[in-house]
């Protein structure tokens, strides 16, 4: 059984169909990249998998480690081990990063029947993980993403990923708005978290990120469908030819 299996997934928002039949399977330990132009449905796919209530699933199935994912509330998907790294992480003034993560981690541990961490253990864990993704420790005490720079917000997403240790991490345009140094730091963080147990779905507009996070498979998403799948060389091909080539194929 695959880690994630998507079959003929259809979804719409406000009556407009965005996903028009997606099929995709990710095995444990694999990293898949989804590439596509603006408006192709990349972010919609990410949000539908995480359970965003603004989207309506109109057809198809999604299985995550044998569980019917679409039946689960967003928080239960997270507790089962799905993580979404947001393209635009939300600012939450008044809630400290540390408190927020502690609530999250303990909710997940509780769901899995594991002991909640005490304050000391938790602090130790987050300090260690902050270091591993090069997140400034001062940001731990600040309100979640509030006043963070673009790079800090993205790094904070990777930091949360490192603390929550999901089985599947979906990274929605984690590279957007990052300069090359920030991009490298984020990619290093992701690479350090790759393991045999964990799958990644990396969504990006540009091939650039995939120079640092080398995918096992690349899919091209266009008009709500995957029009081509291949190895990492597909990303390079795309960089040269652009999406126009596939536009014709899809038409």
């Amino acid at each position: 059984m695959a880690l994630l299996e998507i079959r003929n997934l259809h979804a719409q928002i406000q009556g407009v169909e965005i996903l028009k039949g997606i099929d995709l399977a990710i095995e444990r330990g694999e990293t898949h990249a989804i590439m596509g132009p603006n408006g192709s449905g990349k972010s919609t796919l990410a949000k539908v998998l995480a359970g965003d209530p603004s989207y309506e699933v109109t057809g198809g199935e999604v299985y995550f480690q044998d569980r019917n994912l679409l039946e689960l509330a967003p928080e239960d998907r997270a507790r089962e081990g799905v993580f979404l790294g947001f393209q635009y992480p939300v600012e939450i003034p008044g809630v400290s990063n540390t408190y927020f993560l502690k609530a999250a981690l303990n909710a997940i541990r509780k769901y899995r029947g594991e002991q909640e961490l005490d304050a000391m253990e938790f602090l130790q864990l987050i300090k260690e993980r902050a270091k591993s993704v090069k997140l400034d420790e001062a940001l731990l005490r600040r309100p979640v993403n509030d006043g963070f720079s673009g790079g800090e917000k993205k790094r904070n997403e990777i930091f949360q990923l490192a603390v929550l240790e999901p089985y599947l991490a979906i990274l929605d345009e984690t590279d957007s708005g990052l300069d090359i140094d920030a991009l490298r730091t984020v990619a290093d963080g992701v690479n350090s978290l790759r393991s045999e147990e964990r799958g990644f779905l990396v969504i990006t507009h540009y091939q650039r990120l995939l120079n640092y996070i080398i995918p096992d498979k690349v899919h091209v998403l266009l008009h709500g469908r995957i029009v081509k799948s291949g190895g990492k060389e597909l990303a390079e091909e795309l960089e040269e030819s652009g999406y126009a080539l596939f536009e014709e194929a899809a038409a």
Binding site: P74, A78, F86, Y99, A104, P143
Partner: protein, 443 residues
Amino acid sequence: MEAIAEQKSIYLQDYEAHAAQVEESKGLRRLHRNGIERFEAQGFPGRTVEAWRKTDLTPVLREHFVPSDGPGPVASGLIEKVGALGQAHRLVFVDGWFDAGLSDPGELPNGLTVAPLSASEERMPAIMWEALGAYADTATHPFAALNTAFFRDAVMVHVARGTTLVQPIVVVHVLTSEADRRAVYPRTLIVAEEASQFSLVEHFVGADEPFALNCPVAEIVAQQGANVDYYKVQEEGGGSAHLGAVHVEAARDATVHVHSFACGAKLARTDIYANLTGPGADVTLNGLYLTNGRQYCDHHTWVNHKAEHGTTRQLFKGVLQGRSEAVFDGLVKVFEQAQKIDAQQQNRNLLLGKLALAHSNPRLEIHADDVKCSHGSTVGQLDDEALFYLNTRGISFDEAQGMLTVAFANELLTPIRLDALYQYERRLLLQQLPGAEMAGEMS
């Protein structure tokens, strides 16, 4: 329902019966007399009186509230609340009557007088007699007029020139179940002399059941350079009506912070008047109201900038659940001579209940031409994106809602400079919110 004309006479009759029984000084008698005359002249406000248009007083007008004739027994749950704010110069009133047993004024430092009027009439400084009743607006506020007519005792606080108090003064007003269909008129006078500095908390608690009418009036006089923090915490039982007024008089360079926290009573209203009479005065009015069920909670403010270079900051926030209703109505008036003042006024409401209703009416009236004034108001719900973000991290909807609500309200808790009060209000906040148990340790 009885006619308004009869309503007036009932209170006048009560007054006359009371006046016949009680022996009191000429000064007090004159003050009481003045109160009832002022009340008789205006009566209870109808819905046509602008300041009372949104406040449905029907339940209060339908009832005849006789002045409380003695303290009821204080239940153990309420006793706990009496000591909840820790070390303080503490006075306790039960159904309007001073309770020496529950009070603990502690050792009073030089420069501090804090005592019930009933026990200190003879030794009250002249300045206190001059100030008592000099500020409350009995001509236009019917409940301030009633209070002035009927108060039997008063908290008298005098802090002498240059005195800084280490401990706060805490005044607890308890309503017992005996206060059902009784009226209680707590009265407080605070005179902060030049360059004195201290905090005072008025804490209103009560049993769940009684339908009592509680009409407190506080007068706060801050002389030149004085620095006063005044906290009002209203968590009375769900049956009572609380209609109070707070008057602030701020002289040159005086700093006064008023913080109103309201989560109790069925019908609650606090009217705050602030007069900045000296140049450079600085007044902050903060309010946090949490309503549920069918509660009604109202804050009206009148800020009068009468002198130049004054600063006022108002921030009122509400969290509304169930079918509750809240009002914020604030008028900032800048007089012609009050140049270079800076006045801000903000009201934000968070509706957690689909049937909850918030009215917001910030107003400005400016007669000077070189001033900085701003105001704004919002009524809204929790941000869906933020809720979803928290959900994707494994945090349940209820918890996420609690967390975001605490974050919303916290802006009004962090300025509290008494740690015990900060912790206490925080607990009250958490008790009110669904799914906020976890948010208890949040910071």
